[in-house]
């Protein structure tokens, strides 16, 4: 299956049962361990999760080096345990769908699928391959130095 090029997709397989992976994605006690990327923390007391449609999903990511803060604010659209989570960020319009697939033998595939990155991607022109072009730009511009 090919994804339309106006979307972003990240996939990873984890050696853990699906129920556990799903809990990690919605429980602050787990999120605090991994939500911030490298060098960035997500302090437990800043994480608010109300895992039901219309519920909030808020975090504050804190840069370990200089203490600068990046709040994130999203609202759940769908919560289907243990296989699907959909949330949207009202500020940017980005909608993120997490799909958890049970691969058996306690292995779980997590697929992160983001659309409207940002709103402008809804245009028909964007459907024609904006990201592909942007990737080409990047490579092209790098060559030009």
């Amino acid at each position: 299956m090919t994804d339309p090029t106006d979307e972003l997709v990240y996939t990873r397989v984890f050696d853990a049962p699906r129920e556990l992976v799903f809990r990690c994605l919605i429980e602050p006690e787990h999120l605090t361990h991994f939500w911030g990327p490298a060098g960035v923390s997500a302090p437990l007391e800043t994480i608010k999760v109300d895992a039901r449609p219309g519920g909030v999903f808020e975090t504050v990511m804190v840069n370990d080096a200089d203490g600068s803060q990046y709040p994130t604010r999203a609202v759940f659209i769908e919560v289907t345990e243990p296989e699907r989570l959909v949330w949207t960020e009202p500020d940017s319009g980005v909608t993120t769908t997490s799909t958890l697939r049970d691969l058996g033998e306690s292995r779980t595939e997590v697929r992160i699928h983001q659309v409207n990155v940002p709103d402008a991607f809804r245009s028909p022109e964007a459907q024609a391959g904006f990201l592909t072009s942007l990737d080409r730009f990047a490579a092209y511009l790098a060559k030009l130095g």
Partner: protein, 118 residues
């Protein structure tokens, strides 16, 4: 204009194939409106409209005093749009790395028979 607004308008500007082609052309060097219009079956006012969109979001600038007002690509603005996508990918990659480690820790603790509430 906030940084997010600027990024939104940059993506919106680049969603159009003609404007992407203009940006690609300008990546090779400055050009006048006439030079930019040449490869397209488009009137000068049509091209000018696209240039205004690109100018408004800061992707291109136009010299104020030169006679033919050549257009210039503002690489930093383009890099910030490309950078947004790369940054987003990096965040998820690093998040997944940490989640992988966290899941291992949890399961080691569980198999050791300790409290798995956390």
């Amino acid at each position: 204009m906030t940084a997010q607004d600027r990024l939104d308008s940059t993506f919106a500007a680049l969603a159009d194939p003609t404007r992407r082609a203009i940006v690609e052309r300008l990546a090779r060097g400055d050009a006048t409106v006439n030079e930019l219009a040449a490869p397209f079956a488009m009137t000068l006012p049509g091209i000018s409209k696209h240039l205004k969109v690109l100018e408004r979001c800061g992707l291109i600038s136009r010299s104020r005093n030169a006679q033919f007002r050549p257009c210039h690509l503002e690489r930093a603005a383009l890099d910030s749009a490309v950078g947004w996508i790369e940054e987003n990918r990096r965040i998820w990659t690093e998040r997944f790395d940490k989640l992988d480690q966290h899941l291992r820790d949890l399961q080691v603790r569980r198999s050791n028979g300790s409290d798995d509430r956390d």
